[in-house]
């Protein structure tokens, strides 16, 4: 096992990329710590699968290097990297039994029969597959097949990392969280580095210690679930994480005050002069409070039972605010309080850090 280093790694599917838009993955420096649980999160086409394939060696990056520990593996193919991967659709060898499927990677590496049996039995035990070892793999349900494809990775003790490419796509919804908790438990047990690609925020945040959010071929934030929620580094993260997403308002910021169409909002930190270039303030619906007053208008209310979502018009901008279950509200004029500590400032979509 080893740390995985990406050094100025970038990839373009076009032969001679010129503009940034030509890159499916923009230049990235990152160290994947040994034993970490990472998620690559983003909408389709954001470059997350490209990044995953670069790590696994299915794709050679057009720029930069990939290192496993001290070894440069940029031009090595998958089989040499000791990587395991679980794909979107379960990949199993139809004609084999469950046991033969699990044995397959070990046989290919020339392990002795006794060692193979011991290792397969051990892994099957952990994956609850012991009773099914002699069943034909083709006849199992989708979730069992995914477990087997994971098992084929786990049997190899030499694995540097296990990669998951949207592994729960074809899994029955009510089985998803069982599988998710299983993955988490296995991570704890084995300590393998795991990288999990998904467009589903719940999957990503539940699985990972560190979430890598990608957007338009770029890594926009790497952080813990708390960091993504509390201090999104990019407006996309604010929008994508959380339901409803973060509210953004064009504003001018000076010192500790933001001005939105003449209305002043105080901020929790001091910002220098930011100029007028694409400055926005962002606040999560959870931190927007309704009060007495008439600076805003409640336009509609969605009652979700456990809380309500008020759709608010404020200085011509629409915002969402989360209202507790028992607070009664009606459409019409209302006051609006921006919690200063929770009101963040963005310039050109990136978070600006103020001075406390």
């Amino acid at each position: 096992m080893a740390e995985i280093h990406l050094q100025a790694t970038a990839h373009s599917y076009i032969a001679n990329p010129k503009e940034p838009a030509d890159y499916a993955l923009k230049s990235l420096d990152h160290v994947w710590e040994d034993g970490g649980a990472y998620a690559l999160l983003g909408p389709s086409g954001c470059g997350k699968t490209t990044l995953l394939n670069i790590i696994s060696g299915l794709l050679t990056p057009s720029e930069g290097r990939v290192l496993f520990g001290d070894t440069d593996v940029t031009h090595r193919d998958t089989a040499d990297r000791n990587i395991a991967q679980v794909f979107q659709f379960p990949v199993i060898y139809d004609t084999m039994t469950v046991r033969q499927n699990l044995e397959f990677p070990l046989r290919n590496r020339g392990m002795t029969a006794a060692d193979i049996k011991a290792r397969v039995d051990e892994i099957a035990e952990m994956l609850d597959l012991t009773d099914r070892l002699d069943d034909r793999a083709a006849n199992l349900s989708a979730d069992a097949k995914q477990i087997i494809s994971l098992g084929r990775g786990l049997v190899r003790s030499d694995v540097n990392a296990i990669l998951f490419d949207e592994p729960l796509t074809v899994i029955d919804p009510h089985k998803k969280w069982q599988l998710r908790s299983k993955l988490k438990a296995l991570h704890r047990q084995f300590g393998f580095t795991m990288v999990y690609v998904t467009h589903d925020q719940t999957e990503a945040l539940t699985f990972a210690d560190k979430v890598v959010v990608m957007f338009g071929g770029e890594v926009v934030q790497i952080g813990t679930p708390e960091e993504l929620f509390e201090r999104p580094a990019h407006t996309f993260v604010g929008y994508f994480i959380g339901s409803p997403g973060m509210n953004f308002l064009p504003a001018s910021v000076d010192g500790t005050t933001a001005t939105v169409s003449g209305q002043q909002i105080s901020l929790g930190a001091h910002y220098g002069a930011l100029g007028n270039d694409q400055v926005e303030i962002g606040i999560r619906p959870e931190f927007l409070k309704l009060s007495e007053g008439d600076s805003a208008t409640i336009q509609s209310i969605e009652d979700l039972g456990r809380h309500k979502i008020a759709k608010i018009s404020f200085q011509g901008h629409s915002l969402s605010a989360l209202v507790p279950e028992h607070q009664s509200i009606t459409p019409g004029p209302s006051g609006l309080i921006f919690e200063p500590e929770r009101t963040l400032v963005y310039q050109n979509s990136h978070l600006v850090t103020g001075v406390k």
Partner: protein, 361 residues
Amino acid sequence: MRGANWVAFEVKNITLTVGGEAYLSAVDACFTPGGFNVLLGPTLSGKTSLLRVLAGLDAPTSGQIVMDGPNQSKVDLTGVAVKKRSIGFVYQQFINYPSMSVFDNIASPLRVMKTPKADIHARVEKIADLLAIGPMLKRKPLELSGGQQQRVALARALVREADLVLLDEPLANLDYKLREELRAELPKLFNQTGSTVVYATTEPEEALLLGGTITLLHEGRTVQAGPTLEVYRTPNSLQSARTFSDPPLNSAPAVCSGGTVQIAGGPTYKDTLGLPDGAYQIGFRAHQLHVKKPSRNALDVSACVAITEITGSESFIHVDLLGQRWTALVHGIHPYSEGDQVTLYLDPADFMVFRQDGSAL
């Protein structure tokens, strides 16, 4: 113009048995125009079967489908062929004609109805604008994103202004952000038509967002029907509360004696409902299990965390306690790990109390 006549549909005592297996057992439901009629139930609860019966794709084994006719009469639809009914159907999969342009896709039902050409243009463009796919009319469906493809399918169902529009989990295959957007748009869209809209979903949250009226289905039977929020707040049975809860309903057996309720293996509280002595089931929803003490009367319990799921702005903490698996849905990020011991709070004021047979008090 035909269609979109503000007509209500009613199914009476519908049973559907295929090969000895009962898909629907004596289902009664009424679907009215102007607002959503939500069918909520887990997978295999009979939602799709009911939609297919309504569409005329399957003939019910017994029972009747009735729609409003002229002068307050009722028309029996039961044996009427699919093509003679005025129906739009949207499926979970994005089903469009791959070789036709988006325009032709949307226009296809109008062409079948032999609508004049000028009319077709006007109506297709209007509905396309409403669904924000106006600029894509010349493209082929497969060149569009999943959300746009499903909008095309929606437009095709809407454009003919059918009396009855049936939607079978239309958002299930979309990314959650797209789902969020379309969910907010759909009620606005359908309020502008006079069609009766029946929307099948497995997600309680989606049902709440869509509002309107709801019919809860479980194993091919109607559990409860009524205005959506009312059914959510006042379930008529334990089954109703379970069907309408995601994460699953937290429940536990309890015994009341002399005005004190004892939760099996757990805390006690003073009864305020005037319960006669006896055994009960209490139930409350995941968001009513708290990590911070919500009120003075709240009871506290100690639990062992099985797993925490984090949605981004909320956390689902699955815990084991009192021999039950409960789930707490709390705001913010709470990354408890498996095996952590936590203290959770529950307020008796939130409890729904059910009799031993599952009926509500």
